[in-house]
């Protein structure tokens, strides 16, 4: 699996008073097995960008290649592309419609034309994967809590066995516990099923702990693209566009400025702790409990 975008431009409502440039010369490549965080302010073009990846929106100009094939070529099979690139929209719980949860999750695989047993199997697997208790499966999706509905919706896309899973702000509107659970489950999917994941968010803090690569969008353009460490090194520029780096980045940089030699590229609290303790040990501020 690989997706390649070359010079993608997109304009909404072209040639009207509502004209709005949503993507400007976006070029990037997504490789198999990556876990990517797509970050940017509201209105920076994230949702527009990801809808290009499964052909729901056609670029005003530019090319997209999936596994080297031009998806805008005449006979390209869009339906197949949509089964390979699973897209979970923002507030996906608003798309539920079936009488039971299980039936709703079956909608996607059914559309792929699979056998009834295969459809059922996939739906059940997907529901287990998102951690939805079995006794709920025969309930109406409208009776669930917000967080549970969202899991059903994610399962609905997972059941299609996509090669890439794209989630648009999957934590929007959830409480901290619900947020951590959903993010944890997504990370688990990546680890266990080796599925390529693009996680869209407007919060650095949310994704810093999980992803291996961060793409930052700003005003319809790709502003930065690299590992979390590389991206957070530009924390001052990020601040100018109104996106903060994780809190630890600030702590570490300030310590460094005060002459304490710590690793400023630490992105998680755990890494920061290790770095600070290592410095303290080196300078004999603390003694190791474990004697040699």
């Amino acid at each position: 699996m690989s997706i390649k975008l070359v010079n993608i431009n997109y304009v909404y409502s072209k040639k009207t008073a509502y004209e709005k440039k949503a993507l400007t010369n976006v070029s990037l490549e997504i490789q198999n097995g990556e876990f990517i965080g797509l970050i940017g302010h509201t209105g920076s073009g994230k949702s527009t960008l990801i809808q290009h990846l499964n052909g729901l929106i056609k670029a005003t100009s530019g090319h997209i290649y999936y596994d080297g094939e031009d998806i805008y070529a005449n006979k390209y099979n869009m339906k197949e592309l949509r089964s390979k690139v699973g897209l979970v929209f923002q507030y996906p719980e608003h798309q539920l419609f079936e009488t039971t949860i299980l039936e709703d999750v079956k909608f996607g695989p059914k559309n792929l034309g699979l056998s009834e047993e295969e459809v059922e199997q996939r739906a059940k697997d997907a529901l287990r994967q998102v951690g939805l208790a079995e006794e709920l499966w025969d309930k109406s999706p409208f009776d669930l809590s917000g967080g549970q509905k969202r899991r059903v919706a994610i399962a609905g896309v997972l059941a299609m066995h996509p090669e890439v899973l794209i989630l648009d702000e999957p934590t929007a509107g959830l409480d901290p516990k619900g947020r951590d659970e959903i993010l944890g489950e997504i990370a688990k999917l990546h680890k266990e099923r080796k599925i390529t994941i693009v996680l869209v968010s407007h919060s650095m803090e949310d994704v810093a702990d999980y992803v291996e690569r961060i793409i930052v969008m700003n005003h319809s353009k790709v502003f930065a693209d690299g590992t979390p460490k590389e991206v957070f090194m530009k924390y001052k520029e990020l601040e100018k566009i109104g996106l903060a780096a994780p809190q630890v980045t600030y702590v570490m940089n300030e310590l460094k400025e005060k002459g304490i030699d710590v690793d400023t590229t630490a992105t998680t609290v755990a890494e920061a702790k290790d770095s600070i303790l290592a410095w303290a040990r080196k300078n004999n501020w603390i003694e190791d409990k474990v004697e040699a």
């Binding site: 409502s13 008073a17 729901l56 949509r82 699973g86 979970v88 608003h94 419609f97 996607g108």
Partner: protein, 270 residues
């Protein structure tokens, strides 16, 4: 996609027509429609086209945008034209197939009705293109105010209309989103038999209804919370006040009506 439906939507540019008092525009639209139905010759349409043409020019709404709105009613239009072309009685026959009979009278009538519908839709959409839903309902409420005396709930009607108008773009946007979400799950709205196509609409309509009810509920709650209880004793922050351009607007409308009467009399005479 579905967002291309432009009928009934506001087009945000600044023009003299946009700034006109909504009452002037309401009356103008009403007179325009009446004049459209009273003319029964192509020559009369020249006056109507001249009138609406100048309004469009002054409104700065691009023609292409206006015509896009016609796409939504293309079926109605085609149906009317075809029906008129083939089922108008006439003596000047051009050709005959089976039960159909093409006559000059039919062609004339078809073209006539086609133009009438197009002008009708363009005229009324110019009204919504240049007037925000709020201004429109304000205008309506003020214009119909006298009906209050015969116990017509004018304020409530205006409020319902303003909410309905406000919800149209929201529901269109929502439909667009839900359609995309279901397409991402492999739904297919284009291929298949008639029954399959109708069945394919369920995954759109159920979530759409659920969301419409949710929104309506939220709105009702928000109105309650702010102690809304109808129109009695409710004052306006920005009451409608006529400016000099509005009097000019009324004068121009008067001119149009005068021309219309003169032309009609002239046609009747000769």
């Amino acid at each position: 996609m579905i967002r291309d439906i432009t009928i009934g939507q506001y087009y945000p540019v600044d023009s003299i027509i946009h700034r006109l008092d909504p009452r002037v525009k309401l009356l103008g639209t009403l007179l325009y429609i009446i004049s459209l139905f009273l003319f029964d010759s192509f020559a009369g349409y020249l006056l109507v086209i001249g009138f609406i043409g100048s309004v469009i020019l002054a409104s700065k709404v691009p023609l292409s945008y206006i015509f896009k709105g016609l796409k939504a009613v293309i079926f109605l239009l085609l149906f009317t034209v075809v029906f008129n072309v083939f089922f108008t009685q006439g003596d000047n026959v051009i050709g005959e197939w089976w039960i159909f009979r093409l006559t000059w009278e039919g062609l004339y009538q078809g073209a006539f009705m086609g133009i009438r519908i197009i002008l009708l839709i363009i005229g009324s959409s110019i009204m919504t293109f240049t007037t925000t839903p709020k201004a429109l309902t304000d205008g309506l409420e003020t214009a119909l105010h006298p009906l209050n005396r015969i116990k017509v709930p004018v304020h409530e009607i205006a409020m319902m209309m303003s909410i309905a108008l406000r919800f149209i773009p929201i529901l269109l946007e929502e439909t667009d989103k839900i359609m995309k979400a279901q397409m991402a799950r492999g739904a297919d709205f284009e291929n298949g038999s008639m029954i399959q196509k109708v069945k394919a609409l369920l995954p759109i309509f159920i979530p759409l209804f659920v969301s419409a009810f949710r929104r309506a509920n939220d709105l009702a709650m928000a109105m309650e919370a702010r102690c809304y209880n109808g129109g009695t004793n409710r004052t306006k922050m920005k009451p409608l006040v006529y400016a000099s351009r509005d009097y000019i607007g009324y004068a121009l409308l008067g001119g149009y009506i005068a021309l219309f009467v003169v032309l009609n009399l002239w046609f009747a005479w000769f």
